[in-house]
Symmetry: C2
Subunit: 241 residues, 2 copies
Amino acid sequence: MTYINKKCYFPCMTLKIDLCAIPLFQGLEPQYRALFADIAIEREFGRGRTIFSEGDPGTGFYVVASGRIKIFKLSSDGKEQILHIFGPGEPFGEAPVFSGKKFPANAEAIEKSRILYFPRDRFVDLVQNHPALALSIMAVLSERLHRFTDLVEQLSLKEVPGRLAAYFLYLSEHSGGQDTLDLDISKSQLASVLGTVPETFSRILGKMSKEGVISTDGKRSIRIMDRTGLEELADGTRRLS
Amino acid sequence: MTYINKKCYFPCMTLKIDLCAIPLFQGLEPQYRALFADIAIEREFGRGRTIFSEGDPGTGFYVVASGRIKIFKLSSDGKEQILHIFGPGEPFGEAPVFSGKKFPANAEAIEKSRILYFPRDRFVDLVQNHPALALSIMAVLSERLHRFTDLVEQLSLKEVPGRLAAYFLYLSEHSGGQDTLDLDISKSQLASVLGTVPETFSRILGKMSKEGVISTDGKRSIRIMDRTGLEELADGTRRLS
DNA sequence: CGTGCGCTTGACTTTTTTCAATAAAGGTGG
DNA sequence: CCACCTTTATTGAAAAAAGTCAAGCGCACG
């Protein structure tokens, strides 16, 4: 196991953050993992706290240790579009490290979170000497690109009911094909993920219930009643009346 | 100079594609560049020809040698969203090489183009032994992510007039601050880049002319008449009536 | 010289947002 | 434990933005 050893006022205290649990570092041989653990700095952010803002110089990147953070853009009149929501083990803010540009979006904790910070220069040095890690990073970046393609497709090519249906199916798929879905974020936040506003979101959820494709099962739980109907909504074959 | 040596029926013939002209390979020492030149395969595509389609397995990636290609998504009812347009020296289709997934979008030549193809396995081997190239690739991927962030912002947070204004300003900036802009793609294609349809595009162009922020200067040329006005449109401060 | 494709314009429909009001839920301090 | 306040969710009515359908124009190309 490779733990982060944070400097602190109680030298005997070792924080239990295991780099093995972070997919990014899993391709790495254990003895090298320690090198990365050494350069990491841990910080804690309360709910609603800003981790970085659009335009800040990217002096390093982050990994979520616990909690959840959102990456988002703001329009001039305050509307928010969430680009990603990251949980434990997921890296974020890594693009500026390699492109040399500034952060293109904002990052904020949506719940109390512990975050690892890897300073850019020392990290780049290490990456250059560990091709396995380089490939991991490329895989992460590629995966992000893939997600963005999907997001653009959703925003540009589908109407809100289609996006919502696709989202539910995605959620179901990533929880082993269950029909009961647990929304792990608030409905307002979900609206922002889907590129719309809470009012529209609420209305469409209502219509879906009325037409019997889903049923809302308490505050943060949804049940898929008619999977085929949902698939038709997702691909535009069917529309809500 | 490192040229591609294509196997062909006239062994003496050497195709004049210089890897030095491809930013991706510029960080590489010359003697290593030859290794990459060796694994490249050249192909030619006429206007409208498909290079790959969404869902194809990513057995390699491409670099534009000459011409231009578009990367796009299609909706179920045929609407197209262009994600990128790439010209000479630019790599594309590289994400699946590292993520191991399928192509998330389609690629098509918008004019007669020559394309270099780098097969995945041999390429990955080479990358692992050349950290400088790995960093280049990470830079390319990061740059793509940055562009996508902007695209999502445009699509989700701005109305069409704002997107168009931002596009004109971008074009101006990338041609040294000129007021006279050359649209190098058709207006329909531009509509697709901006996530809208030709009719809407045409109407908004008309309004912009009528309000005096731009003037259309022939078929593929635009002249910025009121840069401040355009900037206000781009950031949402001002709107067309 | 016609044919086709890209572009434009008008009229209409649909989708989504905005504004406003209300209701429900959650946390805090007394 | 409850009253209070803040946040979150829902609903209605009206406005705005964008898309669709249909027709017509013009230019390039065969």
